[in-house]
Symmetry: C3
Subunit: 349 residues, 3 copies
């Protein structure tokens, strides 16, 4: 049902320029919005779309409001304010509760009566399922798992034995938490499996994306602190500790026993070698490979820029001679031209 | 049951050299084929296996037919012709239809009577399941999903609310379509979730590999156009638009709001930064990181060649001094040897 | 129940220094161990924790025993001995057998009476499930799959038609074995699907991590030999052959038709291009991209070290001029300063 613009302004502390009785019922982009739609402007690359928008209203900040051709909500943080408004407009229908007849729940599991156990889900012995928890279709919750209030497993989520999730977490389809860490001791040409006898502890307000995996600890806990946001297809190894409000983009791989600080931002496809410490407030650009600990907050990179393939190949070939090239420069600086110039001729044609 | 070689030749428009009555009942490689088996030659690296083959017949092109020691089907495109013959020889047994007794189907889902809803599958309210669709074991089809005729979800596929798939699509196990995009607005040291109120639209004849994920749009649709082929463990972010007949290899990660053109070929483990535009007919070699838009068709690369580790490390160390090295060369060109040569000495021992 | 230290020493052939009657009931790290706990020291980086440990006993080798402040078990391979002790201390409770009432098992599947088919699992026609096999909750075992004795599918595992697993394998949640390989023949601007008519053969004692995928062969078998250990989110393409006792870390991608030798160690996020041969005893550091076959055992690398972003960007910009830089050095060596020095000036400010 529509909400009055004035009500949104009051609720989220925005200055309103325009008609408070404008009905708002959905969100849209600046380009596509029409009657009933609220848009937002938070990224300057989209500012060019503001003057021509047909939105019923726009959430923006004081610096852009004068270009706004329609009703405006002025917010200090337009993106966060937009997010809150969208949460109001798209409030979930009342979530179901109860146990679907096809769900399998072991006799001594403690399931809050306000929780929902969906079709074909499984809840193991000794599990504790909190208030208003949603265990979506096909999810598997093994023995002694604890799930805090208001947490939602969308579908096909697997929580292995003893895993504990906080409150208000959101686990997308295919998430696996608490599978064995990767531990094998070399012995006589083969391997002996190291039993992974620890577990995983996930704090409140954590979101984990589709098909991501968080391994159980060899001993103790793998820890994901409160407020951490993890995108799809991320792998977190055993005994890692991810600090609060850290954001991990898609396809990241974190080896075992890595500590990541608070408020870090890890770009897509970053890899982190095992047993490292990353301090707070570290930003890693996409595809960086972290091979030693980072003790200083800041922005780090490690992936070459791409190029037209032929040019890239030519430069790559030179990379493979780089040490030699540096020695030749050194020789030139010393006044001695390398005596084996001919040898370097191959690529200079 | 075997098919006569002459019938295959007629059906697929090939010139036949040899005995049209040869029975063909299976495919095999040139090296392993024997009586009843048809092989193909489409890649010159395998040409050496042609003269010694024991295949009953070989699909090849006019340029290699003279080396063929057995019956030959001459095709303009031997690989595609082989594919079509294999489709005939390995035609699926009649697919089942109906609803398995263990499947859970909400009352107002519209399931075509020729469709099959497999064991322990779930179909939500308002879903529309087309003719001859296969919803494999353990799949979860949420509310209001639409699946076009002849599409198959092999097993454990998750289609989130409102996702629409075209006809003749093939979704492998573990595929997740329509999970929330990764959107969080920073606010007061934490994050506010941006509701992902859009959906995903997948065209006809799209194949998506095991454990790949395609996120729903924040607003509007994430779009995968017809004919797109996606390998395993690929991640496509919210609001992406993938053009028709583009091929995406395994383990690729595409951030949000990326547009990929038609007929592109994206190599394994490529990463694409958010909000970029890739034009039609772009080829990216494996592991390339795309950091800006590509406006010109062509082949692009970005990953260094590997090397013996010690040599690689030596060259990498020089990479970290590359800017300095370039300045030193510049100084030499100007006739002035750097005054701090000694400083550079460390790696020259 | 606790085990006497003397019993562990005898069972695993260790020299015991201390009290054989010490009861041991769990494992812990050197730092956290207390009464009843056994720790181990196998990595010199943790040696500093030995003198202060409160463990009831420590597994270590002769070189460190003199620093041990508590009971010691001296082992030639402390890590493997620790692993075996942990297996004793954490022996699984007797595994269940039988068929859960919610499991769906086709009439002609051959399920050993000692096997367990868990809640909401599916077993297809003609499947053969060996002694003491565990088919965990929600797993899907398609027609004609063969599973050797004592193998465990933890949960949500998918084994596609005809896949064969050896004995004592461990498949973590979300594993997909036998999905179609990625084969499409270009034809008239689109693609024709190559039927993937082969299968997958997995040897004994193979462990495969959560959400990893092993594709079925186009023709013949994709093979994973005995003793192979694969971490999470690994992709192995069709027709690969992975040699025995090879270890593959998380997020690795191996394209189709790759042969990997025995006893290789493949670091996280490594990519291997299709149709290559990797010989035995090859080690690849993390994120390396393998673009040609490796015929010599040894250690190989290919990923640049990361750096503070501004410095990395500066060096990367130089990388894109590297071929030109090499030519300029060559010109200097020949005594001729490049005549277009000014052209190179841009980055030298």
């Amino acid at each position: 049902m529509p909400v009055r613009l004035g009500e949104l302004a009051a609720r989220f502390g925005c200055e309103l320029r325009g008609d408070p009785d404008t009905p708002i019922e959905r969100v849209a982009t600046l380009q596509e919005a029409g009657a009933g739609a609220i848009a937002f402007l938070a990224n300057s690359r989209y500012r060019r779309h503001l003057p021509g928008t047909h939105a019923a209203a726009v959430v923006l900040d004081a610096s852009t409001v004068d270009d706004c051709p329609t009703n405006a909500l002025i917010a200090a943080n337009p993106y966060a304010t937009y997010a809150r408004i969208a949460q109001v407009l798209y409030a979930e229908a009342a979530r179901p509760s109860g146990r679907h007849s096809s769900a399998v729940i072991e006799a001594d599991a403690a399931v809050d009566p306000t929780a929902w156990i969906g079709p074909n889900a499984y809840v193991g012995a000794g599990a504790k399922i909190g208030a208003r928890v949603q265990v979506g279709p096909g999810s598997v919750v093994f023995d002694h798992v604890v799930i805090g209030a208001d947490t939602r497993l969308v579908a096909h989520v697997t929580l292995c034995t003893g895993v504990r999730l906080g409150e208000r977490c959101l686990m997308h389809p295919g998430v696996v938490i608490g599978a064995d860490g990767f531990g094998h001791a070399p012995d006589q040409g083969g391997y002996v499996k190291i039993p992974q006898v620890g577990s995983v502890l996930v704090g409140d307000d954590v979101e984990i994306g589709a098909n991501s995996t968080i391994d159980r600890a060899a001993i103790g806990d793998t820890v994901v602190e409160r407020g951490v946001k993890i995108d799809n297809q991320v792998q977190v190894g055993h005994n890692c500790h991810i600090g609060e409000h850290t954001v991990i983009s898609g396809c990241v791989g974190i080896s075992g026993s890595v500590t990541v600080g608070k408020r870090c931002m890890i770009g897509g496809m970053v890899g982190i070698v095992g047993h490292l410490q990353i301090t707070d407030d570290v930003y890693l650009t996409g595809k960086t490979m972290v091979t030693h600990s980072i003790t200083k907050p800041g922005l780090y990179s490690g992936q070459l820029p791409f190029d037209e393939a032929r040019r890239f190949r030519r430069n790559s070939a030179r990379f493979q001679q780089l040490d030699e090239l540096a020695r030749r420069v050194r020789a030139l600086e010393k006044g001695a031209v390398s005596t084996d110039v001919d040898r370097h001729d191959g690529n200079d044609k």
